[in-house]
């Protein structure tokens, strides 16, 4: 099986999401000829994942979200793309990627295989009536299943749950949100901002059941029943589970790469084994798991430089997270909470400006809603970077 190691072996990228394609594009800006290969479990269509939660607002079908198919991308990027191909293992010692019995040689390997949706217990997630929407294929299937139905029950009130709630409402659906947290977007927003978003969504007609969890989902003919742990029962047509994402780490751990919440990397996006890198939603960069587009773009640019011979640590400034709830837009930089830090908030209607300051008055984070989001840029400039420029070597 062993193949001679040559420089002609490709840089292999696993995954055709924003991380994989952005990296390929950045590499091609620097090097037109380095052999590149992408392996992806899906059809390799290039699309912008954040648009999955604005589909009704913008009136886009799954096909309309496709920016380019795998064939067009392969040509544009001068790269071989193997679609519908699931990597089953890595053998870093041999510089091999395993696809069942097949072994592929790589010069350098980039894991850009994203994150899995968190499943609820089988009594809930085991039901065929429950969908999660984490990629274009899910979106296509969900659209079909929705058909002429009206009532959607959404499990989860995080960023993605709130975005789907707003979007489905804009699409004319009856939306009920169920979540065990007492507020929307816990962990991301301070209570004052969360209550503004919730109020705005309620004014649009979204119903919330917070502080309760779904215990079981039962199909009753065409309808679905969601049983809550406070004894209540909700009737709907379709259930969407949006309870969070978890970086895909299993294949990495199996190959003895160091993993924690995500696949551990340093600022060069290098994992614990030579010539294997991780990028995007699956990566944990110096302790940070940031499953957003901006961090992955910055990482992809740095990694492209590294892989083309110019080792470049990634730098992350303050990167505000924008929540696409058109009824009450949100921009937030979640602070690292400190012992003496405090939130100071101004609220007028659903317009909130909340800033988090340390004991010495330094701005560590903020949350803006409604028309206060225009202050995002100004405040972001004051917040310390996530990964400071490294000390000169």
């Amino acid at each position: 099986m062993a193949e001679a190691v040559t420089d002609q072996a490709p840089v292999v990228i696993i995954g055709s999401g924003l991380a994989g394609y952005t990296l390929a594009r950045e590499i091609r800006k620097r090097d037109a000829s380095q052999p590149l290969m992408m392996i992806t479990a899906d059809d390799g269509a290039s699309y912008s994942k954040p648009m999955l939660s604005t589909g009704f607002t913008k009136g886009k079908t799954a096909d309309e979200l496709v920016q380019a198919d795998a064939g067009a991308m392969a040509e544009q990027l001068n790269m071989e793309i193997r679609t519908h191909t699931r990597v089953t293992g890595i053998d870093p010692g041999a510089h091999n990627v395993l696809i069942g019995d097949e072994r592929l040689h790589y010069r350098q390997l980039v894991l850009a295989w994203g994150a899995d949706v968190i499943r609820l217990p089988d009594a809930v997630s085991g039901s065929l009536a429950v969908s999660s929407i984490n990629d274009l294929e899910d979106y296509r299937r969900f659209r079909q299943r929705l058909g002429g139905h009206r009532r959607v029950i959404l499990l989860g009130a995080g960023l993605i749950g709130c975005e789907y709630a707003n979007d489905l409402r804009n699409g004319g659906y009856d939306v009920t949100v169920v979540a065990p947290s007492e507020q929307v977007m816990p962990g991301l927003l301070p209570e004052v901002a969360a209550s503004a978003v919730q109020a705005a969504l309620e004014a649009e007609g979204v119903t919330f059941h917070l502080g309760v969890a779904a215990e079981a989902v039962r199909e009753e003919g065409e309808a679905v029943q969601v049983h809550l742990n406070d004894g209540a029962m909700l009737q709907g047509d379709v259930v969407v589970s949006a309870v969070g994402l978890r970086p895909r780490t299993r294949l990495a751990a199996d190959a003895s790469l160091a993993v924690n919440q995500g696949i551990l990397t340093d600022r060069l996006m290098a994992t614990s084994v030579p010539d294997v890198y991780a990028l995007g939603d699956c990566a944990e960069v110096e302790g940070h798991v940031l499953m957003y587009v901006m961090p992955l773009m910055a990482s992809a640019r740095a990694l492209a430089a590294t892989l083309t011979g110019e080792p470049t640590p990634v730098q992350w400034g303050a990167m505000p997270v924008v929540v696409k709830t058109p009824c009450c837009p949100v921009a937030v930089v979640p602070p690292e909470l400190t012992e003496d830090g405090v939130w100071e908030a101004e609220r007028e209607g659903n317009n909130v400006r909340a800033v988090y300051r340390s004991g010495t008055g330094a701005l560590l984070g903020f949350a803006l809603t409604g028309d206060r989001v225009i202050e995002k840029q100004a405040l972001a400039r004051e917040v310390p970077p996530v990964l400071t420029p490294s000390v000169a070597r």
Binding site: L18, T22, M51, K58, K60, Q67, M294, V322, Q377
Partner: protein
């Protein structure tokens, strides 16, 4: 005239139409859009993301 798409949110900037709401006249090429311009839909800055050429 080209079209550019924001990879974060899918917003399309059409050079032929510009973005008059922000004072960007029809016919303004992407490279002439001010560096501090932000995506009208998701707010990311021009320098922080890629607009992908789509036609």
């Amino acid at each position: 005239m080209k079209k550019w798409q924001c990879v974060v949110c899918g917003f399309i900037y059409d050079e032929a139409e510009g973005w008059p709401e922000d004072g960007i006249a029809p016919g303004t090429a992407w490279e002439d859009v001010p560096e501090d311009w932000e995506c009208p839909d998701c707010g990311v800055g021009k320098e922080d993301f890629e607009m992908i050429e789509i036609s």
